[in-house]
Symmetry: C2
Subunit: 368 residues, 2 copies
């Protein structure tokens, strides 16, 4: 047995011991107020931008620590960033980071009682696989993520698949690292609210540098077209083929769904409504684009009869989202055409808080 | 086909177009100098702390952008953080983040020609699986990562396993997100320099809050002991058991290796030398602790004969690392005892730049 010496040894290991005082970081109180704290002794102005709340000014204390306390917040997983003298910064003492190609931030959980659907619970857990490949269609090296539900390794039957698409500026792990999609699915499945399913989360860009800071993107119309069509082709001809070869999944239309948020919502409409033999379910969360002022041009050959064989066609958007007009306009046009679509409007803006709830609601409808 | 309208639609999607000017972010020139750039118009002092170089002062331009250019750097993957008026901040325009429970930073690649072993190449790629479970031994919910090599899904034979341990303050994905362990293995395997192997990367804490900012850690000797012993027990009785049930891996001693960096190096010595029937290979990179001034107390019951049946026992440390003394002292003590150990000293400090090279060198020695 190795015993006593390790103690003496490690204590003098050369690693700086941490200060024993309370760390300067945000704290969630039992009354669900959050106190933000940032050490910035030389700063002149410190603010925190909190998802759903906006900017709060912090006040400097004698110790150089700036603080601000929110009102009581609803249980949720909130994004936030600090601004110090006009420079957007991450919280140096919060390891939970919201990965993003352009707008990085932090996340803080205000827990619910009982826990909300995006909160980790002691239920059987699935796995999240990161896979890598070179896309011949797009011409870059890229990754995608695959969620397998609890019991996947032991099971025998082929599972249905949800293709779940992130928004503009997200990385391929947006739906897991920020959206907690894997946690949501674990909880829904444990509670019998969703069927066990595989969830495939591809990188959503059909153009390699579409979402780099300062890059060309929505300002360039031909690039936008290339982005959407190459994304579709890579999804159907590369990612789907790999997933159906490597995972125990069904290849039937009624076992395939596609949904996404924002740009990924537009992609879901584009790919889903354009490939009605491939997908049996389409969901669009806070999406714009395709449902714009000229839907006749967006969907000139929409097969109304086939669209009505979709088992679920669902759109959701926040009422304070600037894209709500697109959803309403597109839904009206679809109804005029005779296409059945279910729409939902909820309070809120263009935010992950809505998309987690959208996923929970949409996933529960699938593969019934 | 869905064609024209999407263009009009997405262009007015409500997403802010990015500025067309050059983004304010670090740039690597062909001569391998790096120019750091940070917009901070109101700041009085901006520095960048660059791995292996230390602090560089940035100079403010008329546009409020601070810049500094390094000398030509050796090809490597460098960590860096900015300091603005004394506050450590991340680069707001670099999505490549070095996850960490205490010291978050950014990463920037200075590419080699030909590419270095940690650089992504067009070779067959493995997968990285994130797995979740509740540890009965440690009493928390935790995750671990499993690398499977290219061809794993198609193969039939049982593969050997390397248990690869991160350092103090790292998250469970430290070895992949910062260490590029999966890339290193892909490249070594493609070049015939390493055997195909599964790599298991557990969360390295035996005490749940061991590495929180301001938490108790190395300053508390009984806690340190608990941290090491519970980590060992969770590794052997939980993680190992799950991996051997769920993956096509060998359960023979000669097919199991353990190695780690810093705290994980100490854990590799503790677990490896303490369980010589379980592991056939032990590696310790920049480790301290166990090899301290009183090795007789650290390893009172070391089985010299059995230790000499290890197929590889390898320690490496940087000559500028404050822990170099531990490696030298422990190696001397082992030699006096008659235990064969191979040691390596390389230029450098307590840095990932060394640990990626250590992994490449150690992995190539395994399972021969």
């Amino acid at each position: 047995m190795v015993t006593i010496g390790i103690v003496l040894a490690v204590a003098s290991m050369g690693m700086a011991p941490q200060p024993q005082s309370r760390p300067v970081r945000p704290e969630v109180a039992p009354d669900r107020t959050v106190t933000f704290r940032l050490a910035a002794p030389n700063a002149r102005k410190v603010e925190v931008n909190l998802e759903g709340t906006g900017n709060l000014s912090l006040v400097k204390g004698d110790d150089g620590v700036w603080t601000a306390t929110t009102k009581a917040l609803a249980p949720d997983l909130y994004g936030y960033t600090y601004s110090v003298d006009g420079v957007a910064i991450l919280d140096p003492n919060n390891p939970r980071i919201k990965p993003n190609l352009i707008w990085v931030g932090n996340l803080i959980l205000v827990p619910g009682n009982p826990p909300e659907v995006w909160e980790t619970r002691d239920v059987p857990r699935g796995e999240v696989h990161q896979r890598f490949y070179r896309s011949a269609i797009i011409g870059d090296r890229r990754d995608y993520f695959v969620y397998t539900p609890p019991g996947y390794r032991q099971g025998k039957t082929k599972l249905p698949v949800l293709y779940l698409l992130h928004g503009f500026s997200d990385t391929a792990n947006g739906w897991t690292a920020v959206g907690n999609a894997h946690v949501i699915l674990d909880n829904l499945i444990a509670d019998g609210k969703a069927k066990p399913m595989v969830v495939v989360m591809p990188l959503g860009y059909g153009v390699p540098d579409f979402a780099t800071p300062g890059g060309r993107n929505f300002g360039d119309r031909s690039l936008v077209m290339e982005n959407y069509t190459k994304f579709r082709d890579a999804l159907l001809q590369e990612v789907r083929v790999q997933v159906e070869a490597d995972y125990r999944v069904s290849a039937k239309r009624e076992d395939r769904a596609i949904a996404g948020l924002s740009m990924g919502g537009a992609e879901s409409l584009f790919v889903g409504l354009g490939n009605l033999d491939t997908f049996g379910y389409v969901g669009a969360f806070s999406s714009g684009g395709l449902a714009a002022n000229r839907p006749e041009e967006a969907f000139p050959h929409l097969d109304v009869k086939k669209a009505n064989t979709l088992k679920v066609f669902w759109m959701a958007c926040g009422t304070e989202d600037s894209l709500i007009g697109f959803q309403r306009g597109f839904a009206s046009w679809l109804k005029e055409k005779g296409v059945k679509v279910e729409t939902k409007e909820t309070p809120g803006g263009h935010e992950w808080r809505l998309w987690r709830r959208n996923l929970a609601e949409f996933a529960a409808k699938l593969f019934r």
